[in-house]
C-alpha cells in the first residue's frame, strides 16, 4: 500500500525581550542558576504577573508577517500541572483566544512551492530547568529560564514529508530572525520544535492517529525523527496493528523515538482564564505602528531579486537566508547596480565561504559592502583579474591598507596591463622568441595558441588583460 505522511509542527520561539514576560528579571542566557529569578519567577506567596508589552509587540510583528489575524482581546489562561521547575504549579499561556490566529508561510522543496497554513500563535511563559546531574539522589532546580517569553507557533497538518517539515521549520527560523523577534539560537533552546506525525493510505481523507514527538532541537533531528516515526507507524499498520496516540521523545543517540507518556497519562490541564491578567487589548493604532516598523519580508525580497535583479530563484533563496546577508548583498549592489550577478556570486561565494571558515556572522564581516563594491568595480572595469581579486580580498579581510581595494592593488602592483600598445610590445617580444610555435599555429596546430598566451601572461607577470591578449595575439598571428 502507498502511505502518505501527515505532519504538523508546533514551534516554541523564545522572544528576544530583555526582561521576562511577566516580571522584570533578565532573560540573558547562561547565568549562574537562580540568579535571574526574581520574586515573581520563583512564585513567592502574593506575587502577581505584569505583562511585558515588548513580548506582545513581537507577537504582533509575527502575526503581520504571516498575514494572520491579530485577536483583540486575547486571553491569558492558566495551564495547571505540578512539576518542580514550574514554580506556580501552572504555566501562564493562551488557550481559547490566542493573540495570533491563522496566517501562512510559503515553503520551497526542490522546484515545488507550497503554502503551509498556520493555526495560531500564542504567548506563554517558559518553565525553569531541572538539573539531574551533579546532585546525588536529588534534583536541582534552576529558575533562570522560568518566565522567559515564548511564542508558540502551531501549523496545520499541511506537510507531507520530512523534507517539507524541515523546509517549513527553516522558513520559520529565517522569518523570526528576519523580523527580529527571536535570535533563533537552537543550541540555547531559543527555537524548539515538536512534530505531530501520522500516516494514512494515500488518497484517504481521514487523518491517522498522531503521535507528538518532542525534543527536536535541530533541523537534522527533526528530519530523522519524522522519518523514523513514519516508518514505525507504517510498519505497525502493515502488520495489522494500530497506532496509540501518545507523546514520544526523540533520542538522537539511538536515532529513534520512544514513548514519553500515553494518552491515558495525559494531564488534565484545567485551563481557565488567569484572573491576575486582564484580557489583552490590542488597538488598531498599535498594530499600525508595528506594521510601519516591519522590514521588507523574505518572500517579497526573494521575488524582487528574481524579477528586478534577474537572479535565479535558487540564488535569491541563498541570499535571503538571513536579513543581514540580504542587506549586505543589497548594500553592495547599491554601489554597483550594473553588476548584480557579480555581487551575488561574491556574496554567496567568497564572502560566505570565508565567514563559514572563520565561524563568524556577516554582521562581524571585516569587509564592508562598500569595500567589497570597490573591489568588484576593479574587476568589472578590468583593472584586475578575477584571480588577483581573490588575493586582494584576502588582504582586505586582514585589514591591510584600511581594507581599501585600490590601495592594496597599487601596493601589490596587481593592476592589469590594459594598454593596447604595451600589450602589443609584449606580444611582439614573445612571438620573436618563440618562432617555432608561431609556425606550428600557422600550420594548423591550434594548441600552440594557448601556449603562446601562457608565455605572454608569464612575461607580463600575470598582469596583462587576458581578453586583450587574446584579441591582439589573434590579429598578429593572422598578419
Amino acid at each position: 500500500m502507498q502511505w502518505e505522511i501527515v505532519i504538523g509542527l508546533e514551534v516554541h520561539t523564545q522572544l528576544s525581550t530583555q526582561s521576562k514576560i511577566f516580571s522584570g528579571a533578565s532573560t540573558a542566557y547562561g547565568a549562574q542558576p537562580n540568579t535571574q529569578a526574581c520574586a515573581v519567577d520563583i512564585a513567592l506567596p502574593g506575587v502577581l504577573p505584569v505583562l511585558n508589552y515588548g513580548a506582545v509587540e513581537r507577537a504582533i510583528k509575527f502575526g503581520l508577517a504571516v498575514g494572520a489575524k491579530i485577536n483583540s482581546p486575547s486571553i491569558f489562561a492558566r495551564k495547571n500541572y505540578f512539576y518542580p521547575d514550574l514554580p506556580k504549579g501552572y504555566q501562564i499561556s493562551q488557550f481559547e483566544l490566542p493573540v495570533v490566529e491563522g496566517g501562512s508561510i510559503k515553503i520551497q522543496v526542490g522546484e515545488t512551492e507550497k503554502i503551509v497554513r498556520l493555526t495560531r500563535a500564542h504567548l506563554e511563559e517558559d518553565a525553569g530547568k531541572s538539573l539531574h546531574e551533579d546532585f546525588h539522589g536529588m534534583s536541582g532546580i534552576d529558575l533562570n529560564r522560568a518566565g522567559t517569553p515564548l511564542l508558540e507557533i502551531v501549523s496545520e497538518p499541511d506537510m507531507r514529508s520530512s523534507a517539507e517539515a524541515v523546509a517549513y521549520a527553516k522558513a520559520l527560523h529565517t522569518l523570526v530572525r528576519w523580523i527580529g523577534i527571536c535570535d533563533g539560537n537552537m543550541q540555547e533552546g531559543s527555537f524548539r520544535c515538536d512534530a505531530n506525525v501520522s500516516v494514512r493510505p494515500r488518497g484517504a481523507e481521514r487523518l491517522g492517529t498522531r503521535c507528538e514527538i518532542k525534543n527536536l532541537n535541530s533541523f537534522r533531528f527533526l528530519e530523522k525523527a519524522i522519518d523514523f516515526e513514519a516508518r514505525r507507524q507504517i510498519e505497525i499498520l502493515e502488520d495489522g496493528g494500530s497506532i496509540t496516540q501518545e507523546t514520544r521523545l526523540y533520542d538522537a543517540n539511538r536515532d529513534e523515538t520512544r514513548t514519553m507518556r500515553s494518552k491515558e497519562d495525559a494531564h488534565d490541564y484545567r485551563y481557565f482564564p488567569d484572573p491576575d491578567l486582564l484580557p489583552l487589548e490590542i488597538s488598531k493604532e498599535w498594530i499600525e505602528r508595528v506594521e510601519v516598523m516591519l522590514p521588507e519580508l523574505p518572500e517579497a525580497r526573494h521575488n524582487r531579486y528574481v524579477e528586478d535583479f534577474g537572479l535565479s530563484s535558487y540564488d535569491a533563496s541563498v541570499l535571503i537566508a538571513t536579513r543581514e546577508m540580504a542587506d549586505y548583498f543589497e548594500n553592495t549592489v547599491k554601489q554597483l547596480p550594473a553588476q548584480v550577478k557579480l555581487c551575488a556570486n561574491w556574496v554567496m561565494g567568497e564572502v560566505s565561504g570565508r565567514l563559514n571558515k572563520e565561524g563568524i556572522e556577516i554582521a562581524q564581516c571585516p569587509v564592508s559592502p562598500a569595500q567589497l563594491a570597490e573591489l568588484l568595480t576593479r574587476i568589472s572595469d578590468g583593472t584586475i583579474s578575477g584571480k588577483s581579486a581573490k588575493d586582494v580580498f584576502d588582504s582586505m579581510w586582514q585589514g591591510e591598507h584600511d581594507g581599501s581595494a585600490d590601495a592594496i592593488i597599487a601596493a601589490k602592483g596587481l593592476k592589469q596591463i590594459s594598454d593596447d600598445s604595451e600589450i602589443e610590445k609584449l606580444i611582439d617580444e614573445v612571438l620573436a622568441a618563440h618562432s617555432q610555435q608561431v609556425t606550428d599555429y600557422r600550420s594548423g596546430k591550434e594548441k600552440a595558441f594557448n601556449s603562446l598566451v601562457g608565455q605572454i601572461m608569464k612575461a607580463s607577470r600575470g598582469k596583462a588583460n587576458p581578453g586583450q591578449v587574446n584579441t591582439i595575439l589573434k590579429k598578429k598571428l593572422l598578419e
Partner: protein, 487 residues
C-alpha cells in the same frame, strides 16, 4: 488612649503629648495581656514594631508626619511583610519569613505607621469563623464562647478588644464585613481594584480585595487614604485619580435614597438582627434619607456561584505550595510525587483541601462548561442586578450577617451552613462593588449586629459619609466589650 480615634491619636502625637514609642508599647502591653485568651495575633515582633515607632517619632519631630504616622496598625497575616513570619494561618507557611513587603504594607511603612503584629485568620482566608486557622481560633471579645467571624477574625478581634486602633483585612466573600459585624466594629471592602493585591497571598484573585477595619467610619477613611491607589505591580489595580476618602465625611445626607432589597428581608434573617437593622434604617430616615424597595432577583445564586468560582481560582492559586521552594515540606517521602502528596496532605487543613478538591473538580475536563463557565455567566447576571438597582437608589442596605456570632463548633461540621454566613456579602465580591459593615446594636446573648452598606463602584467616600453621619448620632461604634479589662 486605647479607645481614642485615629484623629485623636494623630493630634496627641502631633502635639507631642505622647510619642509613637509610648503608644506602641501601650498597645503591645494590651496585646500581651489579652492575646492568650483571644488569640488575635499569630506573630508579634516587638523589636521591629518599636524600631518603626522610633522612625515615626523622628518623622513627627522633623515635621514630616502624615495623618497615620506613628499609629500602630495590626496587619492581617495574609500580607507579606519583609522580615516577618507570614503564615496566612497555615501550617504550609508556618516557617515562611517574607523577603518582601506587600504593597499595602509598603504604603503603611511609607507614611510611618507601625506594624504592631500579624493577626490570626482562617487558613488561606477560607472560613467564616476563624476555626480553620492552624494557629487555633480567635475568640470573640464580646463572648469567648462565640466565633469572631472570618476570615479576618484576628483583625476584627484586635480592634474590638482595643489591642490595636486599626487593622488591615481582606475580603473575598465577606471576610472583612462579616467579622466586623460579629465583633461590633466597622470595616470596608473597597471596589475591586482600588487596593493593590501585590503581596497579599491570593485566595480567589478575581474576588480578593483588601480593606481596613477600625472602630469608626472616620478611622476607615484615614486608613483607606493610605491603602488605596494604583500599583503597576498588580494588573487588576485601577488607574484613577487619588481621592481623599475623608473629605465628604461631614456632608449632610440630603436626598439620600437607601435601597432595601426585598430578597434580603424576606427570610433567613434572624429576628434580633432584623430589629437592629430596622432600627438603624429608622435612624437614617430621621437623618433625611428616603427608603426605596428594590429587588436583586439573583440573590439566591450568589453563594452557589461563589462556591464554584472561588474554589476554582483557589485550587490553582494554592498550587505553588508544593514544598519545593519554601514553606512546609513533609519530613519523609520516597519520591517527587510522594513529596507533593505528603507535603500538601500534611500542610493544608481540611477546609483548604475541601476547596482545592471542589475547585479542581469544577475546572476538570468535561465539567468546566457546566460549572465554571455557567458560574461566570451567572456572575454577570448578579452584577447586572446591582446595575439595575443603582438606577433607583444611592446605596443598598441590609444585614451583614443573617445572625449574630454563633458558638464554636456550631457550624464547623456543616460546611453549607457555614457558607451561608456570607449570603449577604458575597454578591458584592462577585460584582466587584464596595461593601461595608458598621455596628448598629446588639442581638441575642448581647452579641453585636452589623449593618451592611453596598455602594456603587468607587463610591467609598459616599459610603463612609453615610456611615459617619450615623455614627454622629449613635454610639454603637464606641462600645467596647465590658468583659475585658477597661482600655
Amino acid at each position: 488612649m486605647l479607645n481614642a480615634s485615629l484623629k485623636q491619636l494623630a493630634a496627641q502625637l502631633a502635639e507631642r503629648k505622647i510619642s509613637s514609642l509610648e503608644l506602641t508599647k501601650a498597645f503591645l502591653k494590651r496585646i500581651k495581656a489579652l492575646n492568650q485568651d483571644l488569640n488575635a495575633f499569630i506573630t508579634l515582633n516587638e523589636e521591629m514594631s518599636l524600631a518603626q515607632a522610633q522612625i515615626a517619632d523622628k518623622m513627627i519631630a522633623s515635621g514630616q508626619a502624615y495623618p497615620l504616622t506613628g499609629i500602630p496598625v495590626a496587619q492581617k497575616d495574609i500580607f507579606c511583610a519583609k522580615g516577618w513570619l507570614t503564615t496566612c494561618g497555615s501550617k504550609m507557611l508556618s516557617n515562611f519569613i517574607s523577603p518582601y513587603d506587600a504593597t499595602v504594607i509598603e504604603r503603611f511603612n511609607q507614611v510611618g505607621a507601625v506594624n504592631i503584629g500579624k493577626t490570626n485568620m482562617d487558613e488561606f482566608a477560607m472560613g467564616s469563623s476563624n476555626e480553620t486557622s492552624y494557629y487555633g481560633s480567635v475568640k470573640n471579645p464580646w463572648d469567648i464562647a462565640a466565633v469572631p467571624g472570618g476570615s479576618s477574625g484576628g483583625s476584627a478581634c484586635a480592634v474590638a478588644a482595643r489591642m490595636a486602633p486599626a487593622a488591615t483585612a481582606t475580603d473575598t466573600g465577606g471576610s472583612i464585613r462579616q467579622p466586623a459585624a460579629l465583633c461590633g466594629i466597622s470595616g470596608i471592602k473597597p471596589t475591586y481594584g482600588l487596593v493593590s493585591r501585590y503581596g497579599m497571598i491570593a485566595f480567589a484573585s478575581s474576588l480578593d480585595q483588601a480593606g481596613p477595619m477600625a472602630k469608626s467610619a472616620e478611622d476607615l477613611a484615614f486608613l483607606l487614604n493610605v491603602m488605596a491607589g494604583f500599583d503597576a505591580r498588580d494588573s487588576t489595580s485601577l488607574q484613577r485619580e487619588p481621592e481623599d476618602y475623608a473629605c465628604d465625611l461631614e456632608k449632610p445626607l440630603g436626598q439620600l435614597r437607601i435601597g432595601l432589597p426585598k430578597e434580603y428581608f424576606a427570610k433567613g434573617m434572624s429576628n434580633d438582627v432584623a430589629s437592629a437593622v430596622e432600627a438603624a434604617i429608622a435612624e437614617y430616615r430621621k437623618l433625611g434619607a428616603t427608603i426605596v424597595e428594590i429587588s436583586l432577583p439573583n440573590t439566591g445564586l450568589a453563594i452557589p456561584v461563589y462556591y464554584v468560582l472561588a474554589p476554582a481560582e483557589a485550587s490553582s492559586n494554592l498550587s505553588r505550595f508544593d514544598g519545593v521552594r519554601y514553606g512546609y515540606r513533609a519530613a519523609q517521602y520516597t519520591d517527587l510525587e510522594d513529596m507533593y502528596k505528603k507535603t500538601r496532605t500534611q500542610g493544608f487543613g481540611a477546609e483548604v483541601k475541601r476547596r482545592i478538591l471542589i475547585g479542581t473538580y469544577v475546572l476538570s475536563h468535561g465539567y468546566y462548561d457546566a460549572y465554571y463557565l455557567q458560574a461566570q455567566k451567572l456572575r454577570r447576571l448578579i452584577a447586572s442586578d446591582f446595575t439595575e438597582a443603582f438606577k433607583q437608589c444611592d446605596v443598598i442596605m441590609g444585614p451583614t450577617s443573617p445572625a449574630v456570632a454563633f458558638n464554636f463548633g456550631e457550624k464547623s461540621n456543616d460546611p453549607i451552613q457555614m457558607y451561608l454566613s456570607d449570603i449577604y456579602t458575597s454578591a458584592a465580591n462577585l460584582a466587584g462593588l464596595p461593601g461595608m459593615s458598621i455596628p448598629v446594636g446588639f442581638g441575642d446573648k448581647n452579641r453585636p449586629v452589623g449593618l451592611h452598606i453596598i455602594g456603587n463602584y468607587f463610591r467609598e467616600a459616599q459610603m463612609l459619609n453615610i456611615a459617619h453621619q450615623y455614627q454622629q448620632v449613635t454610639d454603637w461604634h464606641l462600645r467596647a466589650p465590658a468583659r475585658l479589662p477597661e482600655a
